[in-house]
């Protein structure tokens, strides 16, 4: 540790370059991670909150909640003992005063049933003309107490309360009655259809033309979701791999420059172990400082990010990413290891 520290402080400019590399890569990786997490969450938080892991839906719907329609007859055939009914329709909400338009979802539910969301502000809707909105609508110009029209309806709906973290397909969810859902989706409320059934237990009876999927499957089949998350995962993985290469090569070049010095140390009777320890201490110090500065920069960036930016800082995930970056750079040090193990103290003498 002594050698590692002394060398870094003596060659500040050189090691500053290494630290800057760490800072930039870790900043980029953190930012991508935050963005990926945020985007993924915006697709799915309302689904994550469903009160059960089993979803019964139309077979033709290709596991896509947006396309599923379950008829009254099918609902009756299924075992609905513990199941909750959900009706989803994509709508545009329009503020009646400001004409501000917001892409959103209607989740029609039994307002006193299992799908009832927690109220963070205001109260639960009591009739079909009232809605509970995800609080992200505040960023789009809708507030508690506002009146909205849905899909250009004449009917006005009153936002009576707010809930938190209820987004689906990247847009906010309005919770209201199944009646309102049916009115919006089918133009009349006498059609007794719903979108899907949700249950904490596997459905024992799956009616004809229906299939049972898990909540995770439903999420992975949100159009674009898997493509998006796998793209981000690939980018983040590649950046961590690039980190290994860059730091590995950097430290390798620095090691080669010091071969003759290490030779002298070996001749003096200093063991190879001590030289290897110095290398890894050095990488650890540079990596921890670099990653910490990168994380600090990201926190500052978060302050100036617009609220509508889908950025989410998951501290456990960030901690794992930081650990992965540091571990990868230590693995990068292995490139130099072979070189250090081969150091011949004779080289110090420059033998004849």
């Amino acid at each position: 540790m002594f050698l590692a520290y002394k060398e870094i402080t003596h060659n500040k400019a050189r090691y500053l370059l290494v630290v800057v590399t760490f800072v930039l890569i870790s900043y980029l990786v953190f930012f991508l991670t935050g963005l990926a997490t945020g985007l993924a969450r915006n697709n799915r938080t309302a689904i994550d909150a469903l009160p059960g892991n089993y979803v019964l839906m139309s077979k033709y719907a290709n596991k896509n909640l947006l396309s599923s329609t379950v008829t009254k007859q099918q609902v009756d055939q299924a075992d609905t003992h513990q199941a909750a009914l959900l009706g989803q329709v994509s709508v545009v909400a329009e503020n009646t005063k400001t004409n501000q338009k917001v892409n959103s979802n209607i989740f029609g539910v039994n307002l006193s049933g299992k799908l009832r969301p927690p109220v963070t502000s205001g109260r639960m809707p009591e009739n079909s003309n009232e809605v509970l909105a995800d609080d992200s609508v505040l960023h789009y110009g809708l507030h508690q107490g506002d009146h909205i029209t849905l899909n250009g309806s004449d009917q006005k709906y009153h936002i009576v309360g707010l809930t938190h973290d209820r987004l689906f397909y990247t847009v906010p969810v309005f919770y209201t009655t199944l009646t309102t859902f049916r009115q919006l989706k089918y133009g009349q409320s006498r059609v007794q259809n719903v979108s899907v059934l949700i249950s904490p237990h596997a459905f024992k009876k799956v009616p004809a033309k229906m299939e049972q999927v898990t909540r995770a499957t439903l999420i992975n089949n949100i159009p674009g979701y898997t493509a998006e998350t796998s793209t981000f995962a690939l980018m983040i993985g590649a950046m961590i791999g690039i980190m290994l290469l860059i730091i590995g090569i950097f430290m390798y070049i620095l090691t080669i420059q010091k071969i003759s010095m290490y030779g002298v140390m070996r001749a003096q009777g200093i063991r190879t172990r001590a030289i290897i320890a110095a290398l890894f201490w050095q990488i650890l110090m540079l990596a921890v400082v670099g990653v910490a500065v990168g994380a600090g920069l990201l926190m500052l960036t978060e302050l100036i990010l617009p609220k509508t930016m889908p950025f989410y800082a998951n501290s456990i995930l960030f901690f794992s990413i930081a650990t992965a970056l540091i571990v990868m750079s230590l693995i990068g040090g292995l490139f130099s290891l072979r070189r250090i193990l081969r150091i011949d103290p004779l080289a110090a003498i420059g033998g004849e």
Binding site: L3, H10, V264, A267, I349, G350, G351, E352
Partner: protein, 236 residues
């Protein structure tokens, strides 16, 4: 006087078959405590090969090396490293100080890997003796060639080795400094009963030396007074 180093029929051959080159023919050699020995000879004659074999930096092809009554022939690399650490002090041509450590840290570095600490007084006595007490906080880049060489000598002596091996320790010094360094090595040998062995090209430095050897094409022989006179005459 105690025998520190004993070489019995030690030889070194590089390569095999047609390409084999003999750097050192079977050689006997002894270094006693309190003795200051020098090896002269042209480049490529095998001087450094002999020095590195004595210093356990490389193994001989044949023969036996006995250091402080211990046969080192069958020691493994780790044991040889420890032997170097505990027994030998090396002073090398280019002084080879570590660029990012101060003069003081150059010396104390070995303590960190050894977990035993010398007394500050030992170190300052060493610095006083070498006349570099005022340089302890300097980095090698700020020192002159002679100062660096003296730091290298201090570093070699710091671990209290019983044997000092010096390869052209005066190569980068002017005559005055070179004579001082050689006198210092002689004092170290004579006053503290260490064995000192020096390789040099410079025949002007041989007055302080007890035993002079000449190396020619891998053969080592003791130089007689007659031989010394010839060499000195040719140098002038």
């Amino acid at each position: 006087m105690a025998i520190l180093i004993q070489l019995k029929q030690v030889s070194k051959t590089y390569g095999t078959g047609h390409t084999a080159v003999t750097a050192l023919y079977p050689t006997d050699f002894t270094l006693k405590a309190g003795e200051f020995a020098a090896i002269i000879g042209p480049s490529g004659s095998g001087k450094t090969t002999l020095l590195t074999i004595i210093g356990n930096l490389q193994r001989p092809s044949n023969g036996q090396i006995i250091v402080n009554h211990q046969d080192t022939t069958h020691l493994n690399e780790g044991q040889r490293t420890d032997l170097r650490f505990n027994t030998f002090g090396f002073i090398l041509q280019a002084s080879n100080l570590i660029p990012f450590l101060t003069v003081k840290d150059q010396l104390t570095l070995v303590d960190r890997f050894n977990h035993h600490h010398k007394h500050e007084t030992t170190m300052s006595a060493l610095f006083d003796m070498l006349g570099i007490s005022n340089l302890v906080t300097n980095y090698p880049a700020a020192l002159s060639g002679g100062e660096r060489q003296r730091v290298a000598i201090a570093r070699a002596l710091y671990n209290d080795p019983s044997i000092i091996l010096a390869d052209e320790p005066t190569a980068s010094l002017d005559t005055k400094r070179a004579l001082q360094v050689v006198q210092l090595l002689a004092d170290i040998a004579h006053h503290s009963q260490r064995g000192v062995m020096m390789i040099t090209h410079d025949t002007r430095l041989l007055d302080a030396v007890d035993t002079v050897y000449e190396m020619r094409d891998g053969h080592l022989k003791t130089l007689t007074d007659e031989g010394m006179r010839k060499i000195k005459a040719s140098a002038i």
